[in-house]
């Protein structure tokens, strides 16, 4: 059986200045998600994580083009679909939760209208059943007294509640995959915890697959089963969440883990030298090589290919291979 969602060697480039400037936002990204699983996509701003999400639902801006690769939902190729066909997939089979709930909610429509829309179009709920469905969804995301609150407009809700409403909209179409792009960035810590726990509970109840995009490794540790670390448009390391935290293989992953403050210690933080790269002017060889502590001659010349390691982990670095050979 094919995986629920499979992205294979996806490449999407932005073309600027009449094609003279090419930004390789997604440059050979592959991963797959199964039902009930949470896949984390981690990386810093501009590494291509959001572009990857947009590419999956085919909503990249006009300046970007998917150059090659495949995206399959239950073995069905999404890249061959027309936008009309995609409308039957977005909201119904793949739903998204974006960072800013105020931007994804329409300020002029009531909560009821917005939560009801996907259930109306995709699941053909009507009349009393639709109303009942909206009430269920709002209680599922723990909106107190949903009957009364569904007449409200978004501005009457607090930030945490708005984000929960966006969650209810995502669930309304009964999707198989939810893509959550930094859904808790604007929330306070205690509200963030409530929201993350809520997502986990909803996932357990419905078996939906989650693609969780974040730059916060703490969220990854809490939420994800499998993680892909993105750098400059590529997944440089992919493995299970435990593997990532206990045995990071790529120097970038290791550097990221060492650069976040740990609660209750004052150990100096590791500072990754330099700046994240400009995607239109990538260095030769490995993109991380100018900032890497363990860069070798080979890294400056040859771009590392994907290395498959023992425990189903993959990494794009010459080093693990090198270590294995010198140790063996």
């Amino acid at each position: 059986m094919p995986p629920l969602l499979r992205v294979d060697d996806l490449r999407a480039y932005y073309f600027g200045f009449r094609g003279t400037r090419v930004v390789k936002a997604i440059d050979g990204v592959s991963f797959s998600v199964e039902a009930g699983e949470t896949f984390g996509l981690v990386g810093e701003s501009g590494c291509g994580k959001t572009s990857t999400c947009h590419a999956i639902v085919r909503l990249l801006p006009p300046s970007a083009r998917i150059v090659s690769g495949r995206i399959e939902l239950e073995g069905e190729d999404l890249l061959g679909k027309s936008q009309t066909e995609m409308r039957q997939i977005r909201g119904r089979r793949i739903a998204t939760i974006l960072q800013d709930p105020m931007a994804s909610l329409d300020p002029l429509f009531s909560i009821y209208d917005q939560v009801a829309e996907p259930a109306y179009y995709h699941r053909a709920f009507r009349g009393r059943r639709l109303r009942q469905r909206v009430k269920e969804l709002l209680s599922a995301v723990r909106i107190p007294s949903p009957e009364r609150r569904m007449k409200d407009l978004p501005h009457q809700m607090s930030g945490g509640m708005r984000q929960r409403i966006v969650g209810a909209i995502a669930l309304a179409g009964g999707p198989q995959v939810i893509i959550a792009d930094e859904p808790t960035t604007n929330l306070d810590v205690t509200i963030q915890l409530q929201y993350l726990n809520l997502l986990k509970d909803l996932q357990r109840a419905s078996g939906v697959a989650l693609i969780f995009v974040t730059h916060n490794l703490g969220i990854v540790a809490k939420m994800c089963d499998k993680v892909g670390v993105m750098y400059a448009g590529k997944i440089v390391e992919m493995q299970s969440v435990r593997g990532l935290f206990y045995n990071p293989r790529h120097p970038y992953t290791r550097a990221l883990l060492d650069s976040i403050p740990k609660l209750g210690t004052k150990d100096p933080l590791y500072v990754i030298p330099g700046q994240p790269p400009d995607l239109s002017r990538l260095p030769a060889g490995c993109s991380f090589q100018p900032r890497c502590q363990s860069a070798m001659e080979r890294c400056r010349v040859e771009e590392p290919s994907e290395q498959h390691l023992d425990d189903a982990a993959t990494t794009r670095c010459w080093l693990p291979l090198h270590e294995a050979t010198t140790r063996g």
Partner: protein, 322 residues
């Protein structure tokens, strides 16, 4: 040790609500409601709390951008409310600020050199040559090249801009810098840059920081002592490492429980708070945390706990401990 650099005593700031031309004031938002703390020279005090708890109002009061309703702020032994004219200017020179968003805190129309030079020219009579050399030194201090002073802010990345904001705050030999969420808008790898830079500068110049943030791990890393704020009041003040090892106030415990784990198998006490922060317009009676508190007792809804010392240097406002 001597006396502290900054001492805040029973500081209050209440904003009127609903006052119109005809109607009277309908209520007061008690944004800051009786807080007291001190910051020593060369020390960092962390201030944590969720949005709407009064952190930013506190910083505005200290920056003399808002006038307190009551209470006192003493800086180098002198009451801020009594400073006038030159003395107030001098206070503003010594107390500087770095804001959260370096994209909106630097003027896009000014060259970086002018942005950093502006406070120097405002506060001191120095020659242009001297200003230029001071700007060059400051840029080097924050890890940028002196020749970058000709550039405009848009030519810098987020992390570099935050370095510029720090250089500007340091330009007039500030004694206290209010850091209002200085790393929240930055990428993970850049956060480490800025945190290390701030620590390095403090070690060199013995400047004091009031570090306001909501990321507990970052606050505890940077500050010697941490104060936790909830609905306009301080609920706990303690040594940062002690606070991490054993948070006492139920709200502090909940904040720690809500902070994200550093690895997947980290065991956490699960305290998930119900509900959201109540409105400061109509705070609950008694302890303002009692409607959300998992350890609530009958007494909590009647009597407000005071912030009292439970062990040396450690103050908690909770009936569980007094």
């Amino acid at each position: 040790m001597g006396e502290p650099l900054l001492e805040v005593r029973d500081l209050k700031k209440h904003f009127p609500v609903g006052s119109s031309l005809l109607g009277g004031v309908q209520g007061w938002v008690k944004a800051v409601d009786g807080i007291s703390f001190t910051i020593d020279s060369g020390e960092t005090l962390g201030l944590v709390g969720e949005s709407g708890c009064g952190k930013t109002t506190t910083s505005k009061l200290i920056l003399a951008a808002e006038e307190a309703t009551s209470g006192a702020i003493e800086f180098e032994g002198r009451n801020l409310a009594e400073l006038r004219g030159r003395e107030l200017m001098d206070y503003r020179r010594k107390v500087q600020v770095v804001f959260q968003d370096p994209y909106s805190s630097l003027s896009p129309r000014m060259r970086v050199g002018d942005i950093i030079a502006e406070p120097i020219e405002t506060h001191e009579q120095v020659s242009r040559h001297e200003v230029r050399s001071r700007v060059a030194q400051l840029l080097e201090l924050v890890g940028l090249r002196p020749d970058m002073s000709r550039l405009f802010p848009h030519e810098f990345s987020g992390g570099q801009r935050q370095r510029l904001a720090i250089a500007r705050a340091l330009s007039t030999n500030a004694r206290l810098i209010v850091l209002d969420e200085p790393v929240s808008a930055l990428d993970v790898s850049i956060r480490a840059h800025i945190i290390s830079l701030l620590e390095e500068i403090q070690a060199r110049l013995a400047v004091s920081y009031l570090f306001i943030a909501h990321d507990l791990a970052a606050v505890a890393h940077v500050s010697q002592r941490t104060a936790v704020m909830y609905l306009g009041k301080l609920v706990e003040v303690a040594d940062s490492l002690e606070l991490c090892a054993s948070p006492l106030h139920p709200y502090t415990k909940a904040l720690f429980a809500a902070s994200l784990p550093s690895h997947p198998d980290e065991a956490r006490e699960e305290i998930v708070l119900s509900g959201e922060v109540p409105s400061a317009l109509n705070p609950p009676r008694g302890c303002s945390f009692h409607p959300r508190c998992p350890f609530v007792m009958p007494r909590c809804s009647e009597q407000e706990p005071s912030l009292s010392e439970v062990s040396p240097g450690r103050r908690v406002a909770c009936h569980l401990y007094n």
